[in-house]
């Protein structure tokens, strides 16, 4: 349970964010929390909303991304919101199944420019909390992986990652099997994250194309398939995830369907695809970049909290 000081800090943070958005003429919006469609990403589980009285097939949002993109397609202007989001099964030091995302989209800029903006926002809220964060650092995903494994990206497979874990006497979950994305995630978490200095913003950029989610894909200068996706860390805490947004309706549908096929292989339920989002993309989504920031984690970093429960009025066990 948060102390009253922490509640005040949370209020201050939201006020700072709103001022910052107003200054840039980014429009605050509210979109529905309940939706008949849901995220298909196999790594994210939606809550289904049940009602005893009326028949319902609604899901609680895991992110306001889809309706916000529909607004972008309709009106073509910068929007943001502070949205309650829900992800089943995520509980821990940095996770609560219900949390707040600051999600914002900027029309006509790419993810690189958006990263600059995020840096400005984070440094400005840090200053209002009397903190001074070091200058930002950019790390390229495949470069980081290659620097540990010392082999080129093209020849990296789960066995090379498993061998690295064995050489360093770290526990390797056999269940990773041939899931390279899971293997790389764990590699970064075990070996890269601990090297990040506290009180510095680190942008991890150019994710493997297989982890593109809703970002555009391309081939980098060294011939590696990458996505225009980034994550932002303050110290060792992951705070934000952003994309140079995919605008191609056909490719978006293909990714949703691929997700659902993967869900079936994993024995997860396939999710209802957001046809309204696809229609909006078809109509035309302007080139834009977007990012989602975990507000509770940002507050943790700003207040020095060591568990997310310290910044929540009531965590899931008390909700």
């Amino acid at each position: 349970m948060a102390t009253v000081e922490t509640l005040q800090h949370g209020a201050q943070l939201r006020t700072d964010v709103r001022h910052w958005m107003v200054e840039r003429n980014i429009l605050e919006v509210i979109t529905p929390v309940l939706s008949s469609a849901a995220v298909t990403d196999p790594q994210i589980e939606s809550f289904r909303a049940e009602s005893g009285a009326v028949s319902t097939n609604a899901f609680l949002q895991t992110s306001p991304e889809f309706p916000m993109k529909r607004l972008l397609a309709a009106y073509g202007r910068d929007v943001y919101q502070l949205a309650p989001v829900f992800r089943a099964g995520e509980s821990g030091r940095y996770h609560n199944p219900e949390f707040t995302l600051l999600e914002w989209y900027r029309v006509g800029i790419d993810h690189r420019q958006l990263m600059t903006e995020i840096g400005q926002l984070f440094h400005s809220v840090a200053v209002s909390f009397d903190l001074q964060w070091q200058a930002d650092e950019h790390a390229v995903y495949w470069d980081v992986v290659e620097s540990f494994l010392e082999i080129p990206a093209s020849s990296i497979d789960t066995r090379s990652v498993a061998r690295y874990f064995a050489d360093h006497e770290r526990s390797w979950p056999q269940a990773i099997d041939d899931d390279l994305d899971a293997a790389l995630d764990l590699l970064l978490d075990e070996f890269w994250l601990p090297t990040l200095p506290n009180e510095r913003l680190t942008f991890l950029v150019d994710y493997p194309a297989s982890q593109a989610a809703l970002a555009r894909k391309r081939v980098d200068a060294r011939g590696r398939a990458v996505a225009d996706r980034f994550e932002v860390y303050v110290g060792k805490v992951e705070l934000a995830n952003g994309f140079f947004e995919l605008t191609d309706a056909e490719e978006q549908l293909a990714r949703f369907e691929a997700d659902n096929r993967q869900r079936q292989r994993n024995q997860q339920h396939p999710m209802p695809i957001d046809r309204r989002l696809l229609a909006a993309l078809e109509h035309g989504l302007p080139a834009c970049a977007g990012v989602a920031v975990g507000m509770e984690r940002l507050l943790m970093v700003l207040t020095g909290a060591s568990h997310i429960n310290e910044v929540l009025a009531f965590d899931i066990s008390r909700g």
């Binding site: 990403d41 790594q43 994210i44 099964g89 995520e90 509980s91 821990g92 030091r93 940095y94 996770h95 770290r170 526990s171 390797w172 979950p173 269940a175 990773i176 899931d179 994305d181 899971a182 995630d185 764990l186 970064l188 978490d189 075990e190 994250l193 982890q211 989610a213 994550e231 992951e238 995830n241």
Partner: protein
């Protein structure tokens, strides 16, 4: 009947992991010491645990992919009464069935320092054999040897070593005397209070 019951094995998913859960790993029973939900960004979630091998006492880190399931260990904590030690084994009795069991040095570990006649201990059984012994959180024991007390000196906060019959040594305030009974927290091995 008991044997057939204990053969029913449950599995635990990573979302059920918590401190104290007993699981089988590499053929040995382990107890989860701590569990951390790890999910960097949007990717795969993991459970990073620290587990204690209940046979060797060794604590190691083990990481599981979220959603994996692990066999439960047929480990049972039972309240048993300590009877006596023959120097090699420590003998315990189940107060309701009167069944007796002998625990060896590995199972008893440091608990022997706090074992007194008739103390009710928690004995961890694996396949019916004692694996570990946990003494009561608080015990009352008589001091067999300590330096003479400094009468009236109750304020300085100084301590001195006091020897107990079991071989345990506890730091006590200067005013405590030989032959007195004291209360001890066995988890920290610290003196709590004088028992009148």
């Amino acid at each position: 009947m008991q044997a057939s019951l204990s053969n029913i094995m449950a599995n635990y998913g990573t979302n059920e992991f918590k401190g104290g859960l007993k699981i089988m790993l590499d053929g040995d029973p382990h107890s989860i010491v701590s569990n951390e939900f790890v999910k960097p960004g949007k990717g795969q979630a993991f459970a990073r645990t620290r587990v204690r091998n209940l046979k060797t006492g060794r604590v190691v880190e083990r990481t599981f992919k979220s959603g994996e399931s692990v066999e439960s260990a047929d480990v049972m904590d039972t309240e048993m009464q300590y009877l006596y030690s023959d120097g090699e084994h420590w003998h315990f009795m189940n107060p309701s069935s009167f069944e007796q069991l002998a625990a060896d040095k590995t199972a008893v570990g440091d608990a022997h320092l706090w074992l007194m006649d008739e103390a009710i201990c928690e004995v961890t059984l694996y396949n019916g054999q004692p694996l570990a012994v946990t003494p009561p959180n608080f015990v009352e024991m008589v001091i067999t040897e300590t330096d003479p007390g400094l009468r009236g000196d109750t304020a300085t906060g100084g301590t001195k070593p006091a020897y107990l019959g079991t071989g345990a040594v506890v730091k006590v305030p200067l005013f405590i005397e030989e032959g007195e009974k004291i209360r001890i927290d066995t988890r920290s091995g610290e003196y709590v209070s004088r028992v009148k």
